[in-house]
Symmetry: none
Amino acid sequence: MTHGMTRGRPRDPSVDERVIAIARDLLLEGGYAGFAIDEVADRARVAKTTLYRRWPSRDHLVAAAVATMLVQPPVADTGDLRADLLRAVTAIAARLREPAMAPLVAELVAAAARHHDLGASLRSLAAQRRQAAVELIARAITRGDLRADVDAAALVDQLTGPLYYRLLITGDPIPDDYISTLVDGILDGALDGAGPRPKAKR
Amino acid sequence: MTHGMTRGRPRDPSVDERVIAIARDLLLEGGYAGFAIDEVADRARVAKTTLYRRWPSRDHLVAAAVATMLVQPPVADTGDLRADLLRAVTAIAARLREPAMAPLVAELVAAAARHHDLGASLRSLAAQRRQAAVELIARAITRGDLRADVDAAALVDQLTGPLYYRLLITGDPIPDDYISTLVDGILDGALDGAGPRPKAKR
Amino acid sequence: MTHGMTRGRPRDPSVDERVIAIARDLLLEGGYAGFAIDEVADRARVAKTTLYRRWPSRDHLVAAAVATMLVQPPVADTGDLRADLLRAVTAIAARLREPAMAPLVAELVAAAARHHDLGASLRSLAAQRRQAAVELIARAITRGDLRADVDAAALVDQLTGPLYYRLLITGDPIPDDYISTLVDGILDGALDGAGPRPKAKR
Amino acid sequence: MTHGMTRGRPRDPSVDERVIAIARDLLLEGGYAGFAIDEVADRARVAKTTLYRRWPSRDHLVAAAVATMLVQPPVADTGDLRADLLRAVTAIAARLREPAMAPLVAELVAAAARHHDLGASLRSLAAQRRQAAVELIARAITRGDLRADVDAAALVDQLTGPLYYRLLITGDPIPDDYISTLVDGILDGALDGAGPRPKAKR
DNA sequence: TCATAACCGAGACGGTACGTCAGGTCTTTTA
DNA sequence: TAAAAGACCTGACGTACCGTCTCGGTTATGA
């Protein structure tokens, strides 16, 4: 089997937590611009070399820190699709509406564009997050709630994409009823006579 | 009113074009990272001071250059909403799929997050572009093609947002049938029995 | 001819003096080890980049500073060769005996070995210093005080070399009567019956 | 007193040889600057800790390696002083003229200036090497070949010093006849009429 | 045979300084 | 005045190397 031998001095596991926490603080305080490797090292009582041993560049460290701010709670599946989607999208929106989030996500996106490895890992993270929603929809199709020819991935994109679009491109706010509008729009369609909406309870 | 007196050496009007052209080249060659003010000045045979007299920062110059790459063709209104939307979204997607576009847009977004003025002008530009699409939809509502309670802005977001979402966040490609899926999704809805789609012609 | 046009902002001439003076101070305070480029820049109120524009490396700056410590007063030619040589060698020894000189010269020598350009300039400086002594001896030969077949350069080496030898290699002190021993030795020879020395007063 | 008991795993005796050999190679390849502890450890297949267990610092290791390059053949005493000195000085010069010797000695000298203990051991080594020559001269004095008031140490310095002087300071080459000039100069003196030289065969 | 002591390899760690880079300002001469 | 040239300041980056520390594992002695 794999030798799995851990030789040499083991990494101090507390460093990661400490550094990430401090990086997050710094990012929230001063944004991407006010984030300096030396400052992180100082505050975390860690040598700069140690940072570079774990994160190959400033961008990587920032990305790691921001990624921890974007972790999402699991998507519940109650059987009521409209409510489940609303809850899921609302959770994402809540994250994105946090105070300093817009510039951070913007810089994160730019960092991902600069470093291919970073882009890859962020994309896989995004895919993983999307997976839960996709499965939620797949189950709804199985149940017969949704049409069989629905493209689950595209549908999720039409719920999540607008949030990032507003955050990064148009700068428009994301009010609560915007979220429900998104969900309704994707479920009910916009065509007149596309079918009466079966509810009013929201 | 400004006195309008022009004294001293007049600005060389050819500088703007030359610089923007070179900036664009540099961006396409090496992306945002390979874009250095000194390099631009050198190639354009222009002093750095001249650049800073016209654009207050590197980000501003980059934004100006990228902006010239994003001009969109006008949206046609033929009365066939589905076709019109498909055409409009396809035009946007075509731009975004150009080779080096993803990193440029990413950096542009980051630049906008860094500089408020830049953000404002980019956002107004985006709003202006969206306006045509919003009016297209408004007319469709007036015609009775769409339900009256449709939120035009949100609908446009659900068509455009996914494109940027894939470009910047997931990195997924944007195939042609993805675009039609987006349009269909937003028009027809996903609920089973939401009404038979009146199509087959795409 | 060379255009010699000085365009652009001229170099601040005071920087060189200021920096060299401070560098010298730092070297005397803490030796070569306690000499940091950043420290020099700080104290001289100058940006590090400015230093590197003028001296391509730490070693070069150090060498420039140490070189100014080794400037020798001109060699007088009174006609009394023994006295003139004694005076000249004593002057050199005085420099070399200054407190922190030994390690500095050692590091200078090492720096010269590391950088070819530095070595060249230091060697030409040494040659230039030696030139005066060589001419002193040449004149003594012309006067008939010294044998015609004397190798002036080798003779100077036998007066100066031992000083550096003790300073750098053996670490022995350089007392005053050591200097006169050197001069006598080179003039009178060591062989018994090589001729009575014309004096005994030392 | 020291019990002298040897407990625990004994040191691998092959390490010393291996390391010194590799250190020497590295020094010859890249000089002192191109000599890194990690590199030595890598090439010698030895852990850095093992190195530091045996040599307390980089400089000490360098010194140990260089010392093995400087072993001198014993000085013969045939009774012909001029020939004996010529032979001895030629041997030293031969060492110093070896290809990469100049930078090594320079760096070694600097290292000795940085670390007192290193300086002490190198100086004692130098003294020991000089001792043989001093005794050679003492015997010549006893025989009556040299004047009784000759300072043997200074005389040796005037033979050896110039070699190091040229090697380290002036960079001048050390041709063969330079060596004989040194010996003649010190024996015969430079003054005109200091006595006819008893030879012509060189 | 088992504890103990010293060795060894591997590699993380703290620390210090280096040299570089890019952005942006300032100063001078020239048009 | 603008423009060109280039020196200058600022701040941070990423690197290199040093010497220490902390592991797991090895090899000898001595109880």
